[in-house]
Assembly symmetry: C2
Homo-oligomer: 311 residues x 2
């Protein structure tokens, strides 16, 4: 960073030969978070995490972020400091500079976080390169953040659950970790043909990857990596664990399409390099449907398909 | 732009050897604008204009912008389209790409606009380089936006004013023009030692330039370039025109400190190159005060100083 906060704009020197990527994430109180289930530190962390995740989902590394805030009357300077504390904790982890911000008063708390990153041109990953025969995979088990929200929201009684799982689920919801190192590793592989992040859940995001790539996608229910806390919470709620895992947003795992024959080797390499698994969730095929495969039968990957998932 | 809206992030290729600049501006309904005095198109234009102006104030040229929006219930898709229409009108003028956006629902309308631009390292201008003896100048007459707000707000009766001036003042308020070409020209001159934009009015912004540069500043009232509409509106309001011009924000003129002996020559060159004047408003001196000089006497540049400006 050549010049940070305090002038009209912040200044950085891009690495020679690299492309720059930019993304913005808006988080508004009441819609994207509630202060009853997220502290201000958490709200700051989550908003920045969503933006860093988008940079990782291009195969890039985040460099800096700028923040626009609307602050309600019941939030004092301490509150703003708390928001920035949460953002700074995450920023430090990934050596990201919070390079600027602007603030205004308004009825509700709202954060707009813009993140900028860099990527080598050959590492740039889009969501439209998937091909029939590709394995669809994610960088970790699904549904922990959704389970944490159910606990914080009082949808389940945490006393009836394993406290270790409860703590992990709550942490996953409050402090989701963007898969920055995994994104960089996946960006570096030619076998990765499409990449995006999971912000709205696999059931919403996989159709986007499939549509952009012009292919069909099949989720293999038997393969689905369901987080243990998600499984426990789903059972306590009387919902199929697979449904909670598929519908739950905010996991910030990366979703990729990998050339089928290269998948096993790539998964080993990613685990060795960045300590994250690459877990198969399904495959791409010719066509334009997105379906859930269970015991050889196919169901639509939506509300009508959930019937098949009755526990 | 390599890749625009539709993937996880937008991608651009920076020009070799150039620095990148980034800035964010937050505009919230009720605080920064009202729908009673600004259309949605105007609100979009103004929010982008403020960000582009900050890039110009670094000596840079804007390349792209991303937008975070909070949309209240009474705003439908047409309303969002109108906001973007206003932004796009201004973006096209300056060949800026709106490269991405994110949107959430909330109680009030709020726009966060991040702009990115480029600048040659030797052209980068900060606000901290002013020296005693420098001429302080602006790129146009002051106070038109403030006059427009007074008219739209019903603080004066427009029927009593010259309709040409009324139209110009209202336009200045609704559609402020960021001084992108002037910023680029001033960035290219070694004689310009400090540069920033006027978003909060000269009375608020000049002290920032002076403090950053570690010098004193004197505003010469006799020299003040007061917009004709501002003068007419001030007289109708019973306020000193100079006060309205000094206090009025949102003009988006650039404020610079120029080596004294080079000023006349630079002003000629800027006018020839970009068709904007460079108008002297005062000078920098050793010290740390910021004062208003009237008839040889000095007054503080604040509310207590306004007493000297009684019409």
């Amino acid at each position: 960073m050549r010049l940070g906060i305090g002038d009209d704009a912040a200044v950085w020197k891009p690495s020679p030969g690299k492309l720059q990527v930019i993304t913005v994430d808006e988080a508004t109180e009441g819609t994207d978070f509630r202060r009853s289930t997220s502290s201000l530190e958490d709200a700051g962390w989550r908003a920045l995490a969503a933006s860093l995740s988008d940079v990782a989902a291009m195969g890039g590394r985040p460099l800096l972020a700028v923040v626009s805030l609307t602050i309600p009357r019941d939030l004092d300077e301490q509150g703003v400091v708390a928001l920035y504390r949460g953002m700074n904790e995450l920023a430090r982890r990934h050596r990201v500079t919070i390079a600027g911000g602007d603030l205004s008063r308004g009825a509700i708390l709202s954060l707009g976080v813009t993140a900028v990153g860099e990527v080598r041109p050959s590492n740039l990953k889009r969501r439209d390169g998937g091909l029939p025969g590709d394995v669809v995979a994610v960088t970790g088990p699904l549904g922990a953040s959704r389970a944490g929200l159910a606990i914080l929201d009082g949808q389940v009684d945490p006393a009836a659950l394993d406290p270790v799982l409860v703590a992990r689920a709550v942490e996953a919801h409050r402090r989701p970790v963007p898969r920055v190192e995994a994104g960089h590793a996946l960006g570096g592989s030619r076998e990765v043909r499409a990449l995006m992040d999971l912000s709205d859940g696999l059931a919403a995001d996989l159709p986007r990857l499939a549509a952009a790539s012009g292919v069909a996608a099949v989720v293999e229910e038997a393969a689905l990596p369901i987080d243990a806390a998600c499984r426990a919470v789903a059972l306590a709620m009387g919902v199929a664990p697979a449904r909670l895992a598929l519908e739950g947003g905010d996991d910030l795992e990366l979703l990729c399409a990998v050339r089928g024959r290269a998948f096993e080797h790539l998964a080993e390499r990613v685990r060795a390099r960045v300590g994250r698994p690459l877990l198969r969730v399904g495959r791409l095929e010719a066509g334009d449907s997105v379906t859930l495969e269970r015991a050889g039968e196919r169901h639509p990957l939506d509300v009508s398909g959930w019937e098949a998932l009755r526990p």
